[in-house]
């Protein structure tokens, strides 16, 4: 694959080297889509059209957008609950995402699983389980298979600061380290786990643990989508070159409540205000404007796409209750995950 032979040469050079103008616009588009879809979904939730609870990643859009953009079609992802942009970059249509939130038949899980618990298997993604951070082990196992088969592929998963306290975090980090697996762990540190601040979760920043597991740990500004991209691109290329795992801590902030019901009055206002000045979408817009990109046109196109998608989803039916009992077991052949879209220009022919 072009990217793989090309990469070593690229090693070490800065993001500008890797991101063409169309890439940088794609990154903005992904973030705008994520924000716009989640805002619309929140309204639908308020109108009672989205059942259950509702989670969003407002202010964290750069983490999933930048990371997913560095992943190749043949790579595999376990996407978490604040990472909507990753689904969009892999090729999931906004209409299916709205349908998913609303529990409609056209949703990725056809109403079986809730809101953010989905992943399009045809696009190389595994839907998360609620138990955090269980998916770290699934990603580690994918990477283990890639290494055993001698494939130049990589697995990536996101997880939160709170979930670093759970045993599965350790079992995955240790396993990936001792077997030197091609996996990228993106720690999405948004300062809180529900209402619990990080200082009740750990005494030392978890990025420090990477060295104790035998691999690289880096900290990135999680609100800079191009910095996110570059950190993950480098980690991915290390992984496929046999250099082992990387732990990337993306520093960001959860700007909304844990879920729709949460007024987050436990968060100091100053903290929110301070982070508001570092909004990842505005930062990328500023960048692009300075390059002469017509950002308003991008915004307008995204808004239109979202309207159309919401309409399409709202017009779709709910699932058929008669279906409720089917599919507990796979009846036919087990079908492995498929390849996803990979819009980055660095991937020759890697999707739209």
């Amino acid at each position: 694959m072009a990217t793989h032979t090309a990469e070593p040469a690229r090693e070490g050079v800065g993001e500008l080297e890797h991101l063409q103008p169309e890439d940088r616009i794609w990154l903005l588009r992904a973030m705008l889509l994520m924000r716009g879809i989640e805002e619309r979904a929140m309204n639908l939730y308020r109108q009672g059209k989205v059942p259950g609870s509702f989670y969003d990643g407002y202010g964290q859009e750069a983490v999933s957008a930048g990371a997913a953009f560095a992943m190749a079609p043949e790579d595999r992802l376990c996407i978490l609950h604040r990472d909507l942009a990753a689904h969009l970059i892999r090729g999931v249509s906004p209409a299916r995402i709205f349908a998913q939130y609303m529990g409609r038949a056209a949703g990725i899980t056809a109403g079986r699983d809730g809101n953010v618990h989905f992943g399009d298997r045809q696009l190389g993604c595994v839907g998360m389980v609620s138990m955090l951070p269980d998916m770290m082990l699934v990603a580690t196992g994918m990477a283990m298979a890639f290494k055993l088969r001698g494939e130049r592929r990589c697995a990536l998963t996101w997880f939160g600061d709170g979930s670093t306290s759970r045993g599965d975090f350790h079992e995955a980090m240790n396993w990936a380290g001792v077997q030197k697996l091609p996996v990228v762990f993106v720690l999405e540190n948004n300062q809180f786990a529900y209402s619990t601040p990080v200082d009740k979760q750990y005494a030392v920043d978890p990025v420090e643990r990477a060295a104790a597991y035998g691999f690289v740990g880096v900290t990135v500004d999680g609100n800079d989508v191009e910095a996110m991209f570059e950190a993950v691109r480098a980690a991915r290329s290390r992984a496929v070159e046999g250099g082992g795992p990387t732990l990337i801590e993306a520093l960001t902030m959860r700007m909304h409540g844990h879920a729709a019901h949460d007024d987050m009055k436990y968060v100091p206002l100053e903290q929110v205000e301070e982070w508001r000045l570092r909004d990842p979408v505005e930062r990328q817009e500023k960048r692009l404007r300075s390059l002469g990109v017509d950002v308003d046109a991008v915004r307008a196109a995204v808004a239109e796409e979202i309207d159309a998608a919401a309409q399409e989803a709202l017009a779709g039916p709910m699932p058929d209750p008669a279906d409720a009992l089917s599919g507990v077991f796979c009846e036919g052949e087990a079908e492995a995950l498929g390849d996803g879209q990979a819009p980055w220009s660095g991937f020759a022919g890697g999707g739209s």
């Binding site: 529990g103 409609r104 109403g111 699983d113 619990t196 009740k200 699932p319 209750p321 009992l325």
Partner: protein, 321 residues
């Protein structure tokens, strides 16, 4: 007497125990400053401080394991699983460390695990589970499941004062829907069954949220006299009360919300088929959730959860037998 919701009754029991006994300690995720995902411990930190209403790391094995350690040196920990589903992450500490300790080592582990459980609100596969049968199958754990506000309080007091690990199943769907008169102060409800409505033609055996469903489904079945037995405690299981009802009614419908296979209802049915057989006048009918994860979307979820209609149908059929 005061009127309380099921949720207020739980809070009230916790508050009373924290006031009465300095050994009592609450542990859980977001139970302190935030007051818990369901606000059961709302305002508690203000009265009892962050030490006794402890916001723990996100670590269920840690919560159960540390609670065992605290219990064997004299504390009375009450752990909250944010959702009962997450006990799967602390399962080993619960069944192997807490559950087997007294039999193996003669060491008591006075510990309560609160498990907000059950579905009905589009919680999806990971926020709707009813794991009680897993505990029933693990020797050394007691298991209780209140259906009324009164029992929610009394069973929790009894659980906290019990010298053994007790799994306290609190049904999320009842939190604010169920209201009732609750006696003032501390009282302990025994771990026995309760006749929710006496009857003679057929008995519906249920616990937790299914008791309300059973009562509603059988409130008017063409004048048939339907008994509803609320198990309240699953371990110990009140076998005498069950066999009693069967002897009086000779027709039985067993309802539970958990997945059908090897559920609490299976044990109750097996008990009746063995020791109540002579009293039976008709098959031991079960109504439960089929063996599927609980789906998220309302039409799918409603299709799998045992509802009033399914229970009524089951009773009608059996009465006609």
């Amino acid at each position: 007497m005061a009127t309380m919701t099921y949720l207020q009754a739980i809070s009230s029991a916790l508050r009373d125990e924290l006031r009465d006994d300095e050994r009592v300690l609450l542990m859980g995720e977001d139970i302190g400053v935030f007051g818990g995902a369901f606000k059961v411990t709302d305002g508690f930190v203000e009265e009892f401080g962050t030490d006794r209403v402890m916001d723990t790391p996100l670590a269920e094995s840690g919560i159960i394991g540390c609670a065992v350690g605290a219990a064997v040196v004299g504390m009375r920990p009450v752990c909250e699983m944010q959702f009962s589903d997450f006990i799967s992450c602390g399962f080993d500490q619960l069944v192997n460390v807490a559950g087997k300790m007294h039999y193996r080592q003669g060491l008591a582990v006075p510990l309560v695990v609160r498990l907000p459980s059950g579905g009905g609100f589009s919680g999806g596969p990971f926020h709707s589970q009813n794991p009680e049968a897993l505990f029933m199958h693990s020797p050394g754990l007691k298991v209780v499941a209140p259906s009324t506000a009164e029992d929610a309080k009394g069973l929790l007091h009894a659980a906290i004062r019990d010298p053994n690990p007790v799994c306290y199943m609190e049904h999320k769907h009842l939190y604010r829907r169920v209201k009732g008169e609750v006696a003032e102060g501390v009282f302990e409800t025994p771990f026995t069954a309760r006749v929710a409505r006496p009857g003679s033609d057929l008995v519906v055996i249920a616990y937790g949220a299914m008791v309300g469903v059973a009562l509603e489904a059988t409130s008017d079945l063409e004048g048939a006299s339907i008994e509803v037995l609320d198990l309240r405690s699953l371990v110990p299981l009140d076998e005498d009360a069950i066999l009693d009802s069967v002897a009086r009614c000779s027709k039985v419908v067993i309802v539970d919300e958990a997945n059908m296979t090897c559920a609490a209802g299976a044990q109750v049915a097996a008990l009746i088929a063995h020791r109540g057989f002579e009293d039976l006048d008709g098959p031991v009918v079960r109504v439960a959730t089929p063996d599927v994860p609980i789906p998220f979307s309302p039409p799918l979820e409603q299709a799998v959860l045992p509802g009033v209609e399914r229970v009524r149908e089951a009773c009608r059929e059996l009465l006609a037998h």
